[in-house]
Symmetry: C2
Subunit: 432 residues, 2 copies
């Protein structure tokens, strides 16, 4: 099993439990990182609302009771005939059945400069880098008057989906509630937060009423929302829009496109849109034996033949279904095909403001939606200690309008071997 | 004022408060980092017992009420005639009175390889690097049998002072309580933790009875204590002792020597042992006008003419004294010379085990000393939120013998611009 995200972690746990109950299952979970990342809250780490560790959960800790094999490493190749995966350190692991749950990565859509000059938001390392960078812009601007003019205080967020909307809202609150008090010398009216979306509306998956409500809430918080605008090019110092306008900006966060993990390409099958692996209703990768794909890397279809979205609920339902399927197959019992149950969707814009839509058409916003959002995310978060940590941070931030997580901790400033050590855990140490 | 450690932070706060009360004081605090680091607990971050953010406190948050100027940057030069300090980004700050509170740095004592191949333990970045490195050794060894032989499981700690002793004890507990359960495949009896001290006893500042007690407690936890042994040379793969023995070891943490911050050298005065700035009983740097030095960078003498140790209580008493001195001078009132009051010293070896000594000769160990150590460190820690966070982590670790902080978060794995951005906040952004 490759990947410890929502789907992979759930499947690993359920199958390991089945193994502990005596079923003939042995589980090996391979992940590049030693922790599950609660991606829906990465934007709060990027805006210093939460600590990175609040939403990172040690895989070995959470899986400790039923202890599947856990292997830290990056899968670089798959040989379906030999039933073997190869890791970056040239070791290999054989499988009877392989589940690809490697998720999605940011894609620059081929736009010049985006890969090198924008920040991603897919891992704790990404979110920490955004936080450090953003806090440093304010530090710089509070003593360097030029920084008010050179784009240091202009933050561009590309992509008007939930991630972009939530990040823009949280950044606006960071400025209003925290930066304005931390940096009395800084004229926060010079801060510009620009949310760019190539479509003519925000939140593509939501109703247009919710999208409009989100846009109004963002604008009320000082975010400039530019719809129908794409990004043509970027450098470290400016962003060029597709209408030719050049904006001085030293921060571009890329939330505009995701593609399936490049791991999908190693299977040699024809990929669907977004580089995703087409799967059948039993989540088997079409054309490859004994390989399943779940979550963001998979391209599954709903009952109407429409592709399922790349969201956490699909990954979770995939994981749960596949666990059942594998156990049923071992017991030689039949399993119904996978059906996705849409449970609705929500996005938060800021304190006391969110939009939520249920599949029955019910929609609500404002404070009730925000509370629902808080409860749902706490409930989805894995690990009691993490729940307590997040809850405490949220209470603290809400009551004191303070973001205690605003530390700039940059590992590359470590002394001695610390700064250069171990660019990847998958790499074997140097030989003597 | 340069440096937001124990002394600098206290002085900045007290003087800013005096300024707020109407006294003619304006305070500018310059620090390389945007947070105060509670250095006495860095070793717990290095061993995944605490989160980095538990012991990092935003300077702007803690000084918010009386808001002195805060400047993020590295001081690289001082011109005492012009009353000016120059920062790494070539900007400068003028002063009426300068207080150097820049602390101490690790020193390799000129030993070959130490600067490049050992880990320091002076900042959150250092401690995070140690944590990532150590956790990765266990990940590697749990699937690679060679790693049991090549020194991946051998951890050398140089220096038998409190930092080395506490780190060795905490690492031993990480192995016994956490690694043994996280990595059932790993033979933890192959893990070696070697504490090396060049003197013939541990804990130089303590009585020999306490030192002996600490040695016994460490050995009971499986730590190999090598006294009277120095390190001659090191690489990434082995450590050579001064008796010629070569030990395969892929981890060396350097806690064997500190020197005053290199900033002391820019003043052009003759430095004392350890590169420290000799100060008189009013904490003035001898031979330079309007410059004070406090804490680890200063070389002060006690009533008997002996140099004061480089420990937190000296820095704190320095900060408090200098605040009073400056206010008295403004009010044209006399101030007595600085006198250090020794309040005792303590070090913890692990769960329920510590040694403590009071200046009246009273010494105690075991559980009472450990509780005293916990209470004292919680009390010294600045910031209510940090205290709650540390207390919660300690309870959690104690009750569940679990270290939830064992995440490997490596910023250099960030995508796009994240990995390469901003090697230092003091660096001006690139021009367009």
């Amino acid at each position: 099993m490759v990947g410890g995200g929502f789907g992979g972690l759930l499947l690993a746990r359920e199958l390991a439990q089945a193994g502990a109950r005596g079923q003939p299952v042995e589980v090996t979970l391979i992940d590049q990182r030693n922790h599950h990342t609660f991606q829906p809250l990465l934007y709060q780490v990027a805006t210093a609302g939460l600590q990175p560790q609040d939403i990172g959960i040690s895989l070995r800790a959470t899986l400790r009771r039923h202890a599947p094999q856990i292997r830290l490493g990056e899968v670089v190749d798959i040989d379906p005939d030999a039933h073997t995966v190869t890791l970056a350190d040239d070791s290999s692991v054989t499988y009877d059945r392989l589940v690809l749950a490697a998720g999605a990565v940011s894609t620059d859509l081929g736009l010049p400069g985006v890969a090198d000059h924008s920040f991603g938001l897919k891992s704790l390392a990404d979110a920490t880098a955004v936080r450090n960078h953003v806090l440093r812009r304010f530090e710089l601007a509070s003593h360097d008057p030029d920084a008010h003019e050179d784009g240091s205080l202009t933050f561009v967020i590309a992509g008007g989906g939930p991630t972009g909307v939530e990040l823009a809202g949280a950044l606006a609150e960071l400025v209003t509630l925290v930066v304005s008090r931390d940096h009395p010398d800084l004229d926060t009216s010079r801060v510009r937060i620009v949310l760019v979306e190539v479509m003519d509306r925000l939140l593509g998956g939501f109703s247009s009423r919710s999208a409009e409500q989100a846009r109004r809430e963002l604008e009320r918080r000082g975010v400039e929302v530019r719809l129908g605008t794409g990004i043509a090019e970027t450098t470290d110092t400016h962003v060029t829009f597709d209408d030719g306008e050049v904006l001085l900006a030293r921060t571009l966060v890329w939330a505009a496109g995701v593609a399936a993990s490049p791991l999908a390409q190693t299977l040699g099958v024809e990929l669907g849109p977004g580089g995703r692996l087409p799967v059948d209703r039993r989540l088997r990768v079409e054309g490859v034996e004994d390989v399943h794909a779940i979550g963001d890397i998979a391209l599954g279809l709903d009952d109407d033949g429409e592709p399922l979205p790349q969201v956490a609920p699909v990954a979770i339902q995939h994981g749960r279904y596949l666990s059942q399927l594998i156990q049923d197959e071992l017991a030689r019992e039949p399993t119904r095909p996978f059906t996705y149950r849409d449970k609705g969707t929500m996005a938060t814009v800021g304190r006391s403001a969110a939009v939520a839509e249920l599949p029955n058409g019910l929609r609500f916003g404002g404070f009730p939606a925000w509370i629902a959002w808080l409860v749902l995310h706490l409930w989805m978060l894995i690990g009691f200690k993490n729940r307590v940590g997040v809850l405490f941070s949220w209470f603290w931030n809400y009551l004191f309008r303070d973001h205690a997580a605003r530390l700039i901790v940059d590992q590359r400033e470590a002394g001695g071997r610390g700064a250069a050590d171990d660019s990847s855990a998958a790499t074997a140490p140097p030989e003597p």
